[in-house]
């Protein structure tokens, strides 16, 4: 689960990670009131969406008067912000964060993520703050300092020194930076974060280190022990269909193609998409029905797939293990009665009781339902059906 910048900064504040002061606003009036409350003569108006690259997309602007705060907040609220992380459709901005202006002397990058190979969190720091860190990693990897921290011992002063010397910080800058990194590590561990990224981390004229931005993603499997994080969930940032599917235990992601897919298991679902693609078709979605495919979930799956007007055929590819194929075949028949399935459905059921399942589908003799013998056969038939429908 991801959260907004303003929420990340609330968490940072609780852990002693310094940030500029700011207040979130839902309307231009609120934005102006917030700016007044913060005081000063310069503010930053920042679009709150779950994506990076907001500045380049026009979602972060500097205001030098309260009038300008109002104008900019009016512009940004309600705009559809397109960045390299939103996809071409962009995201609607519903909140802006009003933040006091900061005196930036130098920009850095600081991130924490799990190193899967080392099986420990690793802190990454760079002097190339404010840049696309992926480009830095590609062009000058030596400019990214990586320090793994064994959670069994936690963040120690030597970890801090490795980072500080790696960044070339002067003696008087070190202690504030190390305190910052140490506090951020505590956020990562105690909140079960999956990823924290601060870009830029700034050093001010008075020598303080501040998180000018903050992106945090959390481990979904650990949310059960963090109700305070669950409360920060913004469902406007989540795809409505994906969310609805999730409520039925289905994992769904919409794509651009024409062949709807319903598969058990994420690996087989991806493999099915790959096979369709390889045979000259295009998948319309990723849909993993999980281990509990029954009439209700299959019907729900059909319903969600068919919301997409581009879908010209559906490929149901189930490898029955513990779940018996004959039950799934009956589930599919039930589902076709519950939902108006107006495109060809290619069904491949393999595994436990597959012959019985084939028999059930044959006897039902539904015009739209086409049986397939294996993955290759099913994918070929689905591709042909989608092409025939054009």
């Amino acid at each position: 689960m991801n959260i907004h910048e303003y929420q990340a900064k609330q968490i940072f504040a609780q852990y002693g990670v310094p940030t500029p002061r700011g207040i979130v606003a839902n309307t231009p009036d609120e934005a102006v009131a917030n700016a007044k409350e913060l005081g000063g003569s310069i503010w930053v108006v920042k679009a709150q969406i779950h994506a990076g690259g907001r500045g380049l997309g026009g979602g972060v602007k500097l205001a030098r008067s309260l009038d300008e705060v109002r104008t900019l907040a009016s512009q940004i609220l309600g705009m559809t912000l397109v960045t390299h992380q939103t996809g071409p459709e962009g995201k609607l901005v519903k909140k802006v964060y009003i933040e006091e202006g900061a005196d930036i002397k130098k920009e850095y990058y600081l991130g924490i993520v799990l190193d899967r190979a080392k099986e420990m969190p690793v802190i990454m720091a760079s002097t190339e703050g404010g840049m696309e860190i992926e480009n830095v990693a590609h062009d000058s990897p030596e400019k990214i300092i990586k320090v793994a921290v064994d959670p069994a011992i936690g963040f120690q002063p030597f970890h801090g020194r490795e980072l500080a010397f790696g960044l070339g910080l002067a003696k008087e800058e070190q202690s504030k930076f190390i305190a910052f990194a140490s506090a951020l590590y505590n956020v990562y561990i105690e909140k079960d974060a999956e990823m924290i990224e601060i870009n830029p981390l700034i050093r001010t004229g008075s020598g303080d280190f501040l998180a000018l931005d903050g992106k945090v993603g959390f481990d979904d499997s650990a949310l059960y022990r963090h109700p305070e994080l669950e409360a920060m969930r913004d469902i406007d940032e989540e795809d409505a269909d994906e969310r609805e599917a999730g409520q039925y235990g289905l994992s769904y992601i919409s794509l651009d193609g024409e062949i709807g897919c319903m598969v058990n298991g994420a690996g087989l679902a991806m493999g099915t998409m790959d096979t369709i693609n390889h045979m000259g078709g295009t998948p319309a979605n990723f849909l993993d029905v999980g281990g509990k495919a029954n009439a209700e979930t299959v019907a729900k799956g059909f319903e969600i797939i068919l919301k997409n007007p581009k879908v010209k055929a559906i490929f149901v590819n189930i490898f029955g293990g513990i779940v018996r194929c004959d039950r799934i075949a009956n589930g599919i028949l039930e589902a076709t009665k519950m939902v108006d399935v107006h495109v060809p459905v290619i069904v491949r059921l393999d595994g436990t009781n597959a012959p019985e399942a084939a028999e059930i589908l044959r006897n039902a003799n539904i015009a739209n339902v086409i049986a397939a013998t294996d993955l290759a056969d099913g994918a070929a038939k689905a591709v042909a059906a989608a092409k025939g429908a054009k």
């Binding site: 991801n2 779950h50 994506a51 990076g52 992380q85 939103t86 996809g87 991130g111 924490i112 993520v113 799990l114 190193d115 899967r116 190979a117 099986e119 420990m120 990454m124 696309e132 860190i133 992926e134 990693a137 990897p141 990214i144 064994d150 959670p151 069994a152 561990i189 079960d192 999956e194 990823m195 924290i196 990224e197 992106k215 993603g217 499997s221 022990r225 992601i253 298991g265 994420a266 690996g267 087989l268 991806m270 493999g271 998409m273 790959d274 096979t275 693609n277 390889h278 045979m279 998948p283 990723f286 490898f319 293990g321 513990i322 393999d350 595994g351 436990t352 993955l375 290759a376 994918a379």
Partner: protein
Amino acid sequence: MSILVNKNTKVIVQGFTGKEGSFHAEQCLAYGTKIVGGVTPNKGGTTHLGQPVFDTVADAVRQTGATVSMIFVPPAFVADAVMEAAEAGIELAVIITEGAPVRDMQKAKAHAVKHGMLTIGPNCPGIITADECKIGIMPGMIFKKGRVGLISKSGTLTYESANQIVKEGFGISTAVGIGGDPIIGLSYKQLLPMFEADPETDAIVMVGEIGGDLEIQAARFIKEHIKKPVVAFIAGQTAPKGKRMGHAGAIISGSAGTAAEKMAALEDAGVTVVVSPAEIGKAVTKALKK
């Protein structure tokens, strides 16, 4: 022979009397797995599925001589269960549970390593040595005895692959579902040399997925150390580029974890890489008939 488990392996089940644990333990017993007991706190001294129940793993190990534990406890208790098994002297823990927090698994895995306990999973179908020992949730009848070793991140692709290999007239020596979570136990790199050394395995199939760099590490290892033919499939060639928030994950491994990158590395290591899982069976036939 085969790897890691066989008909003599003594297995206990943690979370034995729960719904999932009961159902699958019964299936494993029916397959012929030597399940010698189970652990459920406060149910010690009772009998379940005809086997003794113990309060602690230490008791179970002491009284049954079990060396392997199959773990079905709920996600919030997985780390505790794994660490208990490690300290009780279990040699291999097969963690089926899905949805364990990453931080918990990090701690549990580090403790397992410290005590010399191997782990498989979490969030995986388990391990099966055909016709001898099934420790997990896979449908046993698909895995006919044969001479192909199978390593897979994905559950259903394990079944799909095994099914195709059997249909081609071959069979499976041992199949291991390693799971695809951020922290996992045994991976390709540890399992490949076991299959290489197993006289009952002639070829190896590895099924990977996008994300992480385990397949890249495997490719490097294969190039140096594996002489037996390897067939690989990487799922997710057409997966959409995720709408990500940050970039940190890609930077740390130095690779974006794309299918194309993994496939190229494996091909460079002399592996037969197929573009669709539908081609795994035929590729195995070709590799074995060379």
